[in-house]
Every structure is written in C-alpha cells, then in structure tokens.
Symmetry: C2
Subunit: 335 residues, 2 copies
DNA sequence: ATTTCATCGTCAATGCTTTTCCCTGTGCCT
DNA sequence: AGGCACAGGGAAAAGCATTGACGATGAAAT
C-alpha cells in the first residue's frame, strides 16, 4: 500500500503538505491541493492508522468486551455501541470473554495493547477489585452490567433484584402459588440477584419457594428444556415458571407444549430480557424488559465523555441505574 | 501507559533486552528475565500494538464487514469468524455496511486504514467490478456471500437459486398449488436468486405463480406481517407461504394465527436461513438451512491462508460453494 | 592464564505520519 | 524601489517497538 511519501513524490510536494491536505488544518493552495488529491486517488492511498496513532497519541477507538457475539442480547448491545461510536467517528473493537475470568482479562489486555481510548465492558467473571483496578488505570473504562460502589461513576447497570421482584410480583398478582424458578448454572451474579428478588417478593406474598422448586440449566433453549423436564421428573407440580432469560423460556414453552400442557391456560411463563425472540415465539412471551439498547448507548456516551477533555462529565448523574418493567404478552394468565 | 523504555529502566536493562524477553527469540538469563517480567507487571506494560504493526509490517488483524451486528444471522457469522481468528491469534475488527454501497465502501476503507491483513466481507450493495478491484488490491480479501467468476478463488458462497428450488420443490411435493411468496423490498441480489429458484421449480411442477402472489416487505418480523396482510387484503387465497427469511416467517405465523388460521393445518410456511429463531418459535419452523457458521469458518481460513506464505492455498478447491438443504420441522404439511 | 561461551548493551535503522519551526517568494504599501 | 507581511511549503523531530550487527563483560572451562 502506498505511503504518504509516494503520494508526495507523485504530486511533487513534500509529505508535510500531503498531511496538511489530509487534516485540512492549514491552508494549502487550491492547485496543489487538487494535485495531491488526484495523487491520493490514483495510488489508492489510506493514511496508516498505526502511524497516526503513534504520533497523535490517540486512536479514536472504543473497545467492547462481551461474552459471546452470537447471543442476541450481546449482539444488540454491540450494535448499539457501534451506532453511537460511529456517530462520533470512533472505531469499534470487539473482544469476547466467554464467561471466563482469564479470557475476560486477556480480552481487556488485548484492547489495551491496541490503545483503545474508551472501553465498554460487560464482565461476568472478573472480581470486583480487578475491575476497580482497571477502571482506575484506564480513563475511558465503563462497566455496563454491574454496580461497584467504589467506581459508581463508571457503572451503567441494571437492577436485577428489582427484575426478580417484578416477575414474582406479577405471578403473585395473577394468583399463582405453585411457582418454580429456572436459574442458570453459570456462576454469574445476575442470576443470584434475580433469584434474591424473587425470594423477597414471594416471601412478602407468603408464597413458599422450596429449594427443590429451583432448577439450574444452561442459559439457552436447551437449558430451559432440560431444567423444566428435570422438575417434572421430580414429580413437582406448578402453575407458573419464572425463567432466567427468554431463551430458556422458549425451551420451557416447547417442552410443556410437547407434554400437552397449554400456555398460558395450564401454565404461565415469564421470561427475562425481552430480546427479539420474545415477540416472535408463540405464544408471545410475557417478560421483563432489560433496556440493553438504551443502556449500551448511555455507556458508550459515558465512556466517550470520560476521555473528552472538552465535554466534561455531567456530575449531576451520580448513578446510571436502569429499572426493569414488565412487558405483558401472552404467556402468563390468571391461575 | 508505560513504554518499553520505562520497563527497561525499572529493570535496569536495555530496551532491547526487554524486547528479547517479549518475543523470546533469543536466550535471556532466568534472573534478568524474571526481573523484567516483574517490571512489566508492576508498570502494567503492554507493547504498543501500533508501534509493533509499524515495524513488523503485520497487524495480525482480520476485518469483517457485515450489514448489521444486531441481526442474528450476521451475529452468528461474526461469532464464527472470531472463533477461528482467535485460534490463530488474530484480532477481529468488525465494521457495518448497512445495505448501502457507500457505507460498505467506507467500512472497507476504514479496515484498510487499520491495515487489516485479511478481510471477510459480506457485501450486499457494492457492484461486482468494485469488489473485483478490491480483491485484486487486498491480498487477504474474501467474499462470503456471493460468487464472482473473475475472483472465484476468493468467494465463499451459497447457492440461493438452489435454495429457492428446495423450498418450492418441497411445497410441490406436499401437494400445494396455491403458493404465495414473500420477498424483500431491499434491493439485494440474493432475494432475486431465491425468487428465480422458486420460479424455476414451480414452472417445472406446472404451478402458476402470478406476480400478485409475490409481496415485498422488510426482511424482518414486521415486514413478514405486513406483506402477508397485504396479500390477504388483496383477496388472494393460498395454502403455502414461501418466505425470504425466518424472521419474516415468524411474522407470518403470528399474523395468520391472529386471524385464526392454523399452521400447518390451514397454511404451510417455509422460512430461510435456519437461525436460532426457527427452532424456538411455535410451531417450529420448517426452513432452508444456510450453513453460515461453516461458511464463515471456511471464509476465515481461506482469508488467513491467502496471506500466509507458508500455508499455500489448496488449489484443489476451485470453488467454495455451499448448498442448501431442507430442515423439516412443524410449519409445513400436506395440503 | 587464556580461551570460550553466554549474556546483554549500544547503536542504528525501520516503519509512517503529524507537527513545529523555519525558509522562500510573491504581492502590496508607502 | 525598498521593506514588510503573509501565504505556502520544506526539513526534521517525535512517537514506540523490533531487529541486526557488533562489541563488551563476566564467568566457566581448559
């Protein structure tokens, strides 16, 4: 690929002048300018981003860490981030952490090596003190899925406990008393939070939730099937199922339909996240909204404003907490 | 962020020695090695990828161009690419083109500026001659969704015409004669190819497909709903619906169910792509498999082997064409 | 005591662009 | 005509890591 020197030679000027045309900070005579532009086009020249980064000490790059690209929830998140970044002329660098602390750290380190200026991180596995340390080291570091008091200004987060409550409150309001919960066996804190919220709500409503009524599966369709089948095998009866996420809920719908149970007539089901899936499946899923698109946008803007000298942090925003709300569709009904 | 000089100073050695430790090409005594490693850890030093890229003339980066990250189909694609790339220690740089020729070109140019060595491109809008030009300019350039004779060795592609045939053949074999087709109004060539395949098949089976039986919508749930509703408003009757993709098919399922029609008893529906959605929805979608994960893997390996001097291209592979096949589930039945 | 490695420092060059400083030439004013 | 201002553009340094050649140092071996 051609360099700026090649362009300069072809246009009969010095590299400095070519650079001036590229950045258009200084006035260059129209004649030479068009001559240079013609040379650029002819050689198909693109300024080397690495050389630029080196000298300007800025890369205009935002790094994103998510668990997996293929998951619709994270895909949506990455997409929203890219959208905001693009408007600010930032490149997006995506790295996946796959629920593993070591891999998450590797992903972050790799983004650091690329000298990302901003970073939006969804960390499922890293310990809080590691994250605090990273936040203090990296100016544009923002967490998108958890709240850590010491770095509260860098946390855009979702109230999972309230989410659990919303699910359980709704089921209670519909008159359900035989409730089972499908959580995930992945050791992620949000599952615990949601479960805590469910427990709080149910005890307020004087509804019993024995441990045998909680099953654990992988956070996807298959995991939902297996978990609900496991409960049925155990001889447990229920009229309502609270799921860790929408994908598991679709697994439950499928398994129960196969067994001839009607939804929501025989069994009510509530999902979590409100990914596209929830609208598409049959019956349409009643679920808890996790406004990941808005949150991702906010997190990106926060990260970018953290590194912008001219645009200072809006100090009135002490907190970037987002609350869940129920999206009523067709999978839950009165008992 | 600390530089290699800072590390050298702290460890009491020269920058060259630090570099030797980092690349581990030359023997360094264990004592100094640990001293340097300690300094690296203490300063949290990460070699500047840009400086490295500049001197080594290699970035170990693969660029990906897709229409939208949020689409499950593309998310799956990006995920598979990342998987293969990671194993080869390649960074992935994702850029979106949003079905727009200008934006696709901008995305590619931006990846070029980053000096991506390999590139996997899903181009929906760029003209063939532009793509040919790019392929000749960029050594590791691979197209993943279309076949262009002049650069056949760089094309990993899917036979959309055959895909259209598969759908129509199946419906014909089930005895359907009143068939409608839902295509996309986006001007993408694959929609045309699928439609051509459908037409070929139906004329072979002596089934008529008048133009009024073809509706066009956006390639998603809402588009599917609108398109089928439009046909019904026109007073067109049918027993089978052939959809451009799975998302549209779910829209059709939803719309028809709302109207009290049973699937597949009253109407048979076939989707396209076999994204996760197809398994999750109710009834489960009969659809045409587009093996995007395998294709993405292949495309990535192809791109990487194109730029690897040691691993020459397997010349026996003249062609990287992938064929569709039918995945029979529950949304289609005998007429 | 001398040779011989192993180990590491020094120096320079390389890669590409940006930016500061400085020089040239032209046109204008008095 | 002389002087000045200013536009336009060149030269060179800086930014960071790698690599090769070559030299220096020290310790171990003969």
């Amino acid at each position: 690929m051609a360099t700026i020197k090649d362009v300069a030679k072809l246009a009969g000027v010095s590299p400095a002048t070519v650079s001036r045309v590229l950045s258009s900070t200084v006035v260059v005579s129209p004649k030479t300018k068009t001559r240079i532009e013609k040379a650029i086009a002819e050689l198909d020249f693109r300024p080397n981003a690495h050389a630029r980064a080196l000298v300007s000490k800025s890369t205009h790059t935002i790094g994103v860490v998510i668990s997996q690209l293929a998951d619709p929830f994270f895909a949506q998140m990455a997409s929203s981030i890219e959208d905001v970044a693009k408007k600010r002329k930032f490149q997006v660098l995506v790295s996946t952490g796959s629920l593993d602390a070591q891999k998450e750290l590797t992903a972050i380190k790799s983004l650091q090596a690329q000298r990302c200026e901003a970073m939006v991180v969804n960390s499922k596995a890293l310990a809080d003190d590691v994250l605090i340390d990273l936040a203090q080291r990296i100016p544009g570091f923002v967490l998108i899925n958890k709240f850590i008091p010491q770095i509260s200004q860098r946390c855009v987060w979702f109230d999972n406990v309230a989410g659990g409550k919303v699910m359980a409150d709704y089921m209670a309001s519909l008159g359900h008393a035989n409730i089972v919960v499908l959580s995930t066996k992945e050791r992620v804190y949000d599952a615990t939070h949601r479960l805590n919220g469910i427990r709080q709500s149910l005890s307020q409503h004087n509804i019993n939730l024995p441990d045998q009524h909680i099953a654990y599966g992988s956070p996807d369709y298959a995991g939902g099937r297996e978990a609900i089948e496991h409960l049925i095998e155990q001889g447990i009866t229920f009229t309502a199922v609270l799921c860790y996420n929408d994908a598991m809920a679709t697994g439950v719908i499928s398994a129960l339909t196969d067994l001839g149970r009607r939804i929501p007539d025989d069994v009510s089901i509530v999902g979590f996240d409100d990914v596209l899936l929830a609208k598409y499946c049959m019956p349409k899923l009643t679920t808890v909204k996790y406004p990941i698109d808005i949150m991702a946008r906010k997190a990106t803007e926060l990260a970018l404003s953290l590194i912008a000298k001219d645009r200072p942090l809006n100090q009135s925003d002490k907190d970037y907490q987002y609350k869940p709300f129920l999206v009523k569709r067709e999978s839950a009904a009165k008992c």
